[in-house]
């Protein structure tokens, strides 16, 4: 599923990051890379901005980026 579809408190493993450079490099630098564990901590009322935790780093990003991050639910 997409990161933007997760509910608050849900976590999963990142499968794919579909962004273009240079934003992809920036996401990498924040730890948003294939294989890392990501948890959705919070989002704003209209789900425009998201806060996630990747391997201990908290990152804020927008819906556009959250849509580009493919996450695999941990239970599967």
């Amino acid at each position: 599923m997409k990161l933007s579809q997760m509910h608050i408190g849900q976590s999963g493993i990142i499968r794919k990051v579909r962004a273009n450079e240079p934003i992809k490099g920036r996401l990498f630098a924040m730890g948003i890379t294939k294989g890392n564990r990501i948890t959705l901590l919070d989002h704003t009322l209209k789900k425009e901005t998201f806060e996630v935790d990747v391997e201990g780093t908290r990152v804020a990003l927008r819906k556009e980026e959250a849509d580009a991050i493919e996450v695999e639910d941990e239970k599967d």
Binding site: A19, E21, P22, I23, G25, R26, L27, F28, A29, M30, G31, T33, K34, G35, N36, L41, D42, H43, T44, L45, K46, E48, T49, E51, V54, E55, G56, T57, R58, V59, A60, L61, R62, E64, E65
Partner: protein, 698 residues
């Protein structure tokens, strides 16, 4: 004495500045990197028989530089000469920080790894095995805490060890398939005489596989470029097939991530999850309550600024008045006496009175930043700012703008997209800087009831911000079509601010302010005083002296004296200048004195206050009874005061801010636009407000 040149590199917020501050016997120089206005901190210290020089580079997330500041760091690492790299990482997020460390290790440089904030990890029951990590990466590792001054001396010891060590072992290698390609391409590079070391060639090849445009530019001019380019394409193709990935950059990024993960796994016992930040975040960035809480904080800040800041004002005011009177008696009478006691002292005093207000505002902004709340505010406001064509990160320069516009222009560098940056910078002036605070505080005190003062001040700041947003939206629609840049930002953990750092910042700020008051503002006051006292009109004076001598009652005398002073002022240089520009401001209800004060605000906003103090004092023979506030009440009506506030809110910032803008924005068209449009806008809005108030019967 041997000389060691070191560079300090690390991601933002890892505590590099704190480490530099914790070094004992170090001399700190703050300057700029050549050609750019990025702050360069450099420390020098002597230890045993070594002269050590450490340059602190701006925080950089990775060598794939993203913001202009990161580019500065990257260029420094690539182009300058240095002996040892000090790589500082944050123990709390070691894995992410190690990615940059691995990128640096590609160069196989002399380097030491400083793991800062170890206190936080250990407090939560975590542990890091520095010896093991050091073996695995082949570089010395220091566990440090700048906060507790732990390991800071070790940094220097290790730095010297590393400097003296002859061999540098490479311990970190990528997947075999990647290493094969690196080897193949390195051989081609090494044919060029520009590359003497295999390490450098390897570093370049890795960067080329990652499509680093800066490195590409360097090799582009080499004779071997054609061959290299062809082989590079083949290598990337093979890697993509072999790993089933979209790009070689992805493959290497994944590799580094895997290595970092395994290093952490082997060397670190993770702390039990600290959830304090999560708990605070649950409240502070709550989807519904987050924004109201934020607005409450901002409102509170302006209340405090006014309420606490105004406590010592009366006392300071009286002190300066007494001081001026005292000086007047002990100095020999004459022009020197007058220039000091009527010109400089009251002017400087009228500005220094506002030091408490300014310090409180700065303290508030610093607290926002140091505690980590600033990033939360950016998060909360991103959706809102996006509607106006800005992004959440623009919040940081915008809020800094409430402190001082100059650093705010520089803070806009965190915005990568040039359009976003320019829009943000063009509206930054509407975020009222603290130098404007004295003008507002003075006018509010004169024209509003004290119970409402804090609210009025808050309203002024909020209207400035809203106006800024509207203008940003208009600029986005009319001049800068296109999407704003994506928003990806680290949210640092909440930290208790370091009181020492806060104290230092405030002290520095107070010192700068007093210096500005003592030099620049005193100078401006002196000029204004001179212009308002010369030339004399002897005929006029003689005429009035006769009249005064003939006057029957005391009241008549005073009235005549006042008349003479006013006539003299009108005859003076400044009176003539004022009369010349008065027509421009007349539709706003400004007399020539307000017009002059407004113009003088272009030098520095505080000068508006000191100019008002000088100009309205001159026409006043009875000096003891009335303060500046009372004189303003007698001379200006309510709607004019509001028009003046509107002008101050909107028109061009001070020359220092303007020259910073010119330095940051090279295009002449934008400079011209920036110089003209706020003034036109200010006049038009002030005119509207003035006339609306007039219609309402004020």
């Amino acid at each position: 004495m041997k000389k060691i040149r070191a560079v300090m590199v690390g991601q933002p917020n890892v505590g590099k500045s704190s480490i530099i501050n914790a070094l004992t016997n170090a001399r700190l120089h703050v300057g700029n990197f050549a050609g750019v206005t990025v702050e360069k901190k450099e420390v020098t210290l002597t230890y045993k028989e070594y002269d050590i020089d450490i340059v602190d580079l701006p925080g950089i997330y990775s060598l794939n530089a993203y913001t202009p500041e990161e580019q500065v760091s990257k260029n420094y690492l690539l182009d300058e000469s240095y002996d040892v790299i000090i790589n500082v990482v944050d123990a709390n997020v070691l894995q992410r920080n190690l990615i940059l460390t691995l990128q640096l290790l590609d160069m196989n440089p002399k380097m030491i790894l400083v793991i800062n904030m170890i206190d936080e990890v250990e407090k939560q029951g975590g542990m890091i095995d520095a010896v093991k990590l050091s073996e695995l990466i082949g570089r010395p590792v220091v566990l440090a805490s700048a906060k507790e001054r732990r390991g800071v001396e070790d940094i220097i010891e290790m730095l010297i060890d590393e400097f003296e060590r002859p061999d540098r072992q490479r311990k970190i290698y990528y997947d075999e398939r990647i290493e094969e390609e690196i080897e193949r391409l390195s051989e081609i590079l090494l044919k060029s005489p520009k590359f003497i070391s295999a390490d450098m060639a390897r570093f370049f090849v890795v960067r080329l596989l990652e499509k680093d445009p800066d490195i590409y530019k360097i090799v582009h001019d080499l004779p071997i470029f054609l061959e290299l380019h062809e082989e590079l394409g083949k290598s990337i193709h093979r890697l993509k097939l072999g790993f089933d990935e979209e790009s070689a950059a992805d493959i290497i990024a994944n590799e580094r991530n895997a290595i970092a993960k395994s290093l952490v796994m082997q060397c670190m016992q993770a702390p039990k999850k600290a959830s304090l930040t999560d708990k605070i975040d649950k409240i502070l960035i709550h989807p519904i309550f987050g924004l109201p809480i934020f607005l409450f904080f901002m409102w509170g800040l302006f209340q405090l600024t006014f309420e606490i800041g105004s406590l010592p004002v009366d006392y300071l005011d009286a002190t300066f008045t007494n001081f001026a009177n005292w000086l007047k008696q002990i100095l020999p009478p004459g022009d020197i006496n007058a220039i000091i006691t009527d010109g400089i002292v009251p002017a400087v005093g009228s500005v220094i009175m506002f030091l408490p207000n300014i310090l409180i505002l700065f303290l508030g902004i610093n607290l926002l930043e140091q505690t980590g709340y600033m990033a939360r505010a950016a998060f909360l406001l991103d959706g809102f700012l996006k509607k106006f064509g800005l992004q959440g990160k623009a919040f940081i320069p915008l809020v800094s703008g409430f402190g001082c516009t100059v650093p705010a222009y520089m803070a806009a560098r965190t915005l990568k997209n040039p359009k976003d940056r320019l829009i943000t910078m063009l509206v930054l002036g509407f975020m009222n800087c603290s130098a404007r605070l004295p003008v507002y505080v003075l006018l509010i005190a004169a024209f509003f009831p004290t119970t409402n003062a804090g609210n009025v001040l808050f309203a002024i700041y909020i209207s400035g911000a809203i106006l800024g947003l509207i203008v940003a939206k208009i600029l986005r629609i009319v001049l800068f079509k296109g999407e704003p840049e994506p928003f990806v930002m680290e949210m640092p953990p909440y930290r208790f601010p370091s009181l020492k750092a806060l104290g230092m910042e405030l002290w520095l700020k107070a010192k700068l302010f007093l210096k500005k008051a003592g030099t620049f503002i005193a100078g401006a006051a002196m000029i204004i005083w001179f212009l308002s006292n010369f030339p004399h009109n002897p005929q006029l004076i003689k005429q009035y002296e006769q009249k005064i001598a003939q006057a029957q009652t005391k009241e008549q005398k005073v009235a005549l004296e006042n008349e003479l002073a006013a006539k003299n002022l009108e005859y003076s240089f400044i009176g003539r200048i004022g009369k010349m520009i008065e027509p421009v401001f007349a539709p706003l209800g400004f007399d020539w004195r307000l017009s002059v004060a407004t113009i003088s605000g272009l030098a520095a906003k505080e000068v508006v206050v000191s100019t008002l103090a000088t100009l309205y004092a001159v026409g006043d023979a009875d000096e003891k009874s009335s303060t500046l506030i009372e004189r303003l009440r007698q001379n200006i009506d309510f709607k004019t005061a509001i028009a003046l506030i509107v002008i101050i809110m909107i028109y061009s910032p001070c020359v220092a801010a303007m020259s910073t803008f010119y330095a940051e924005v090279p295009r002449w068209a934008w400079r011209a636009f920036y110089t003209i449009y706020p003034n036109v806008l200010a006049w038009l809005l002030a005119y509207s407000v003035y006339n609306i108030l007039a219609l309402l019967g004020y």
